[in-house]
Amino acid sequence: MSVDNAVTQPTTSIAAGCATCPMYNGAQLTRLGINMTDWDFVVALAGNPNTGKSTVFNALTGLRQHTGNWPGKTVVRAEGGFLYGDKRYKLVDLPGTYSLLSTSVDEEVARDFILFGQPTVTVVIVDATRLERNLNLALQVLEITDRVVIGLNLMDEAKRHGLQVDDRRLARDLGAPVVPMAARQGEGVQALLKAIHEVATGACAPRPRRINHRDPQLESAVAQLVRQIEFAFPGLPNARWVALRLLDGDESIERAVRDGTLGQLTQTVAPQPAPTIHLELEAVN
């Protein structure tokens, strides 16, 4: 009997180690580094400062984007690629931001990309030890797009502080998939990939909880503005968001509308994958 125990013990610990082992992950994930000339999906990586976005970025791309704790570390966005299943993903690491509504330079970079870069999926990395602070940005992103995955990072630190976070309840309340992670240890990276893949391919369609304004006067003002914005900037995504910002008196958005830079945002930040190359790839397969 004692021999049996000795045998079963190590087997379970090996199984538990699998999820974090690079050999196991290698089966589905191929890190492409900066080698990404063509891609099927664009994934934006957003989150408050110091939530481990760059750690997640490095885990997925195999790149060594600087990780460290100082303000404005990722001032411009870093890009990398990975292959998961048979899809090529471009991952864009955005500067840390508390909000999409404030206007410091790095927050503008993040805001413009999420709003007008039209990423296929936006991953919001949140700090499990500071959820209250982090959910502000998560809710703002969920206002703009349905295709969101929440990476509930730093679960190891939360545990160390005696915090228990109910990730399933959080997913239900937000109406979006929530993946518990400890990215520094590689925990949850596989689950995150799977969630990104499901949302990108449409296998999972999140239905985010939204605050309903239900104010007929506001709604009619928004509708009027949306018509004008769409006329002035054909093809601009998130015209409703722009309208709400204008009504709120956001000076940076007002300026972008006046001088026409609002229209350029979509063109510069959202290069579409070249369809010809894409078809060739499919033919080869």
Binding site: Y98, S99, L101, S102, T103, D127, T129, R130, E132, R133, N136, G249, D250, E251
Partner: protein
């Protein structure tokens, strides 16, 4: 309970924000940083030069200049 402005808050006691006397982008910025009525706040680090001061609010340390802090009304809860 004593009502004062954030720039007058001494190091040590825990306070609660009662009003943010700012408008527009400045008010928005404070709210995004988690500084809105009801938020618990305390001095985290004093500056030997007196300005800015770092405050602990909702699990993060945020530095504010005196001219910003004086627009935030707080209620001192306990020493």
């Amino acid at each position: 309970m004593t009502i004062t402005t954030l720039d007058q808050l001494p190091p040590g006691p825990q306070a609660r924000v009662t009003a943010v006397q700012l408008t527009g982008a400045e008010r928005r910025r404070m709210m995004d940083l988690g500084i809105l009525p009801g938020a618990a706040i305390a001095v985290a680090l004093e500056n030997p030069l007196g300005d800015p001061t770092a405050y602990r609010v909702r699990g993060a340390v945020i530095a504010l200049r005196r001219e910003q802090a004086q627009h935030i009304q707080v209620e001192i809860e306990r020493a």
